[in-house]
Symmetry: C2
Subunit: 443 residues, 2 copies
Amino acid sequence: MDFLEGIAVKETLELPQLQEPDRVGGKVRVNGAVHVIRDMGNIAFLILRKRDGLLQCVYEEGVTAFDLSRLKEAATVEVCGTLLRNEKAPGGIEVHLTDITILSQPMDPMPIPVAKWKMSASLETRLSLRPICLRNIRERAKFKVQEGVVRGFREFLQEQGFTEIHSPKLASKGAEGGANIFKLDYFHRPAVLAQSPQFYKQMMVGVFDRVFEVGPVFRAEKHNTKRHLNEYTSLDFEMGYIDSFRDVMAMETGALKRILQILERDYAKELDLLQAKLPSADRIPVVRFDEAKRLASAKYNRPIRNPYDLEPEEETLIGRYFKEEYGADFVFVTHYPSKKRPFYAMDDPEDPRFTLSFDCLLGGMEITTGGQRIHDPQMLVDKIAKRGMTTEGMQSYLSAFSHGMPPHGGLGIGLERLTMKILNLDDIRETTLFPRDMSRLDP
Amino acid sequence: MDFLEGIAVKETLELPQLQEPDRVGGKVRVNGAVHVIRDMGNIAFLILRKRDGLLQCVYEEGVTAFDLSRLKEAATVEVCGTLLRNEKAPGGIEVHLTDITILSQPMDPMPIPVAKWKMSASLETRLSLRPICLRNIRERAKFKVQEGVVRGFREFLQEQGFTEIHSPKLASKGAEGGANIFKLDYFHRPAVLAQSPQFYKQMMVGVFDRVFEVGPVFRAEKHNTKRHLNEYTSLDFEMGYIDSFRDVMAMETGALKRILQILERDYAKELDLLQAKLPSADRIPVVRFDEAKRLASAKYNRPIRNPYDLEPEEETLIGRYFKEEYGADFVFVTHYPSKKRPFYAMDDPEDPRFTLSFDCLLGGMEITTGGQRIHDPQMLVDKIAKRGMTTEGMQSYLSAFSHGMPPHGGLGIGLERLTMKILNLDDIRETTLFPRDMSRLDP
């Protein structure tokens, strides 16, 4: 009988192994995709794209046992040769080839040059050719950074006693209500796609006290802006036994700091490729909604048009204000008007026109919405009634409260938007592998 | 201006802090949910449910400044008292109460006793009352174990150079094709819910070489069994530059070993609560599909009815065979018939009736399907044509191949099913927070 006991050591090496000092001068075997071929006559440079970066290989006629004319860009190969130092090559090393074996050949010429430093094509074109364009090392670096964001979020919350959950995306009713819900037929019953894990994460506070989830959410909003998607990845958490919604903001501050630490430590190469300078979350100003509006209005001479709403331009000015006055990248804007928040938001007992809630802005754009939730069952039912909403489909949600729920709060962070703002990009589609917007359902 | 710099230290303590040796004899402040009250007259035991377990508190009339009649089960409280050792109490400690503060009161009596060791109610009842029933510490322990499974999967793959991705769940076409797809209207265009991240993870092999994703998948299958769900969490990975599909199985073996190590190390308390004995993935037998059928048929005297299919009962017998003959919990069954696999499966060049694919069984049930994929663009197009399928909606997928893709393979593991089999439970709904099946869309 044949058995497997785990992964076997491969003869082919990855870039970190090639960087080990005693490899230089030795024979190495490497695989990768042919990123670009620079043919200089008797000699040619073959740049291999590997998962950790690029590797320069040197082809020499008469030395490399291979007919170079057979090799196409975008082929995948396994090569063999001598590893040498070359300060001009990526990573300071190169392989002088003795052998090339073709693993796969492309069928068509590349529709767009991915080996260029910067893709000059429009975002529209890059998205249409997404699986190809992401092979550009700067394009893919954005998603390595995004991976780091998720790692930091999870790592920090895990340490803080949060349990990771997986809530259903198909349900009989949406958490936020309203019209912006995708509907579908579920075995002859009406169903919706989750706009957020809100109801589930709140119910799970009664079970695990602290929970988080990283998963897709769906919004049928007819927006067509650079900061909205119809499907995005939400970083959600919810925590019990809070003293105030300040505990939620403090937890987010901790998570943001960890994310930025991880990016600095493990994703320096990608940040460097993207020429991105990380923001700081070390000291985040906290300002009331009305006060933030006043400050921005006064400094930038922009009249307040609606005291109960925050326009995107006002967000930008608030971000600018706190950058200029305090050097702050992030800002917590608190006490949003009750009208603008969902029914489950806890109203401020001192002034119920406002809520014990907040947004977190980064670079003048909202990346998080959160706050304290109503935990008292009667207060919850009363607020639903006051809004003229029905409790239909909310029985389980409400039952969690009528059977005891601690004071709690939480938040949702848009992963793509946070990544966009960390990298200082101007369209959320740049940081979404396969964006879904009003016109895009494919690829 | 007010600033936040991170989380503040709380006066209230969690169970791991209460276990610190120098706490005994000291004053402590703790919050939690009133799991159960055992009133003995002048004295009462108040069991608090906290996220890490239970804590016994001792109420004494005249000592505890509180009217016990005001306290209801399922209330949440903050208590104050002296920490003492008591070997009979959970965790060997208890708090002798001086004060109780009520944080929240339930409105209704509990519909089901959650403080019992084992919930005796039917699965149907427990699912209908899910948010309440999960407060039972054995019920919730299943989902802590599930968390550990995901942690192990991610941790191992990250170390092996995999990039975590987030692929869209809304698309214009399903990856596997067929009728079992949930359909919906996406801004007046027909859309489907992803049955798997198959197309996306394959395309991303061309970008990151190795990728993984943990996310929901949706299957509109009209199954109604103990092992099927219509929405579940899929642990997916895909890896490039494989020598054979054996590399994929070896990677899974490594991931399973890591998962089991993490469960043993960090989830011993939960496994103990559930009286679960972990399986071993140290040495997983690998057997051909046809051979596995023959072995099970011969040993258990069950005629082979269809040489190209594996019935659930045959899976059970194959599992039993390898347990009895080799003491193995997991089995890799390889070379599934081509007819039973999707078009992208790589046929065995030695006998194209079979594929270079596998299932992994645990305790006689399939927990994984995987294999080598076709990477040659012409072979892919030919197989699609041979099956009479259309390439409509597959242009981006196919373009990744026509522009060069390395040999690759991957797999998908059903998280709920793996958790169910690790815990030796008999219904997949037991390990799904909020199951979605043909009759269940709520809660």
